[in-house]
Symmetry: C2
Subunit: 211 residues, 2 copies
DNA sequence: CGATTATGAGTGAACGTTCATTCATAATTG
DNA sequence: CAATTATGAATGAACGTTCACTCATAATCG
């Protein structure tokens, strides 16, 4: 082998992957056992590195936890914005957004569980709004969607945070059930769930035009 | 003072209250800082008792945590079943149930935050279904409501867990926002939110009779 | 180009801290 | 004055973090 490399399990890794291996191990363990059930000693054990190695890449455990959050948030952001039909009617955009988000989490259950745990922990409480709803990337799109929906009377005249909860709250429960094996999500079911969420937010005295 | 008593803050307590004081202190601290941010030393400190006293009432910290869950679950059960209109139409029962639950948590934010943390932690994962949906008290009522709604075609023909998520998922987000001060829930708003949840679950091709 | 030195990623035993829990003792009760 | 209840210093396990050290590789040298 022409450059430094090493073996973990059956695979051969270039040195650049070590950080990623640690992050993956942390993701799995934290999802399985929670933040305080995933000591650094177990994380490095699963990653196949020594205790000290983790501090080559992360200043401390908190930094690792936040780095994981940032990476997942970026993945999610890219996944749900790809192909977003900015020019289509509101209903189309709404369905696209919710369907994509459901789909992403159905396919990446660990990402969902991690973010859920993060935002339900003392780490995440203060940052919740910044990341989920405020002036940032995907949050912008949600805000744009809902405020336009309200002003054009395609959606119910409720506070934006309420419409947000009607649109995405069911997803929190459904993905949890999907992860835990109480239900299996396929594309058809995802489409029907998304349509039901639209029923929740849409104005029941419809405006002159159909959205 | 004629019987043994002691002072906490401005109040005087008989000894029978000591267990309750410990539980209240644990509730507050765990909601504020999470399970691993609420060490026994802090709990007894807030309760105004010595470290050892907690073990007079609870075998260990886990037992305390589960006892709190049980007490809150019982409170919630009683609150939402009081005055439940078993003989009224499905829609009436649905609105009553969801409204009552929203109302209860809006008035008892600590209870909500505790249960949320509990069920999102390794403690609660395995028990989630037993408590929230299965053959038990309030769970029975939800199951009865949804299965009747499906079979009589007043609700969408979706898996029960999906209808459950459409009915109660938004509440998870809204109460969190209420607790964190992003929104203020009053009776009027609660009624409008509940109505929107009904829109989500109700069959859009209505049956012959109005429910 | 072979030999020598420098580098820094990787290591893991050891450290200090924090935690839940215990128990000998003290205080309070009827 | 026995019995019950409360106390808090002491304990040991578990944790995150540190740091002196190793060694494969890269850089430099003669």
């Amino acid at each position: 082998m022409s450059e430094r490399s090493f073996i973990i399990g059956a695979g051969v890794m270039g040195e650049k992957d070590k950080k990623a291996v640690i992050m993956q191990a942390a993701l799995e363990l934290i999802v399985e056992r929670g933040f305080h059930g995933a000591p650094v000693s177990d994380i490095v054990g699963r990653a196949g590195v020594a205790a000290g190695t983790i501090y080559q890449y992360f200043e401390n455990k908190d930094v690792l936890i936040r780095a994981l959050r940032d990476e997942l948030a970026e993945n999610i952001r890219q996944a749900i914005l790809e192909g977003y039909p900015s020019e289509k009617p509101i209903r189309t955009r709404f369905l696209f957004f919710v369907e994509n988000l459901l789909s992403y989490f159905a396919k990446n259950p660990l990402h969902f569980r991690y973010m859920e745990q993060y935002f339900n922990s003392p780490y995440g409480i203060s940052l919740r709004r910044d990341k989920a709803m405020e002036k940032r990337d995907s949050g912008d799109i949600v805000h744009e969607l809902l405020s336009e929906g309200i002003s054009k009377r395609f959606m119910k005249n409720l506070p934006e945070v309420v419409l947000f909860s009607l649109a995405l709250g069911p997803m929190l429960v459904i993905i949890r059930d999907h992860v835990l094996g109480f239900i299996t999500l396929d594309d058809m079911l995802i489409r029907r769930i998304t349509a039901a969420c639209w029923d929740a937010v849409k104005e029941t005295q419809p405006a002159a035009e159909v959205p």
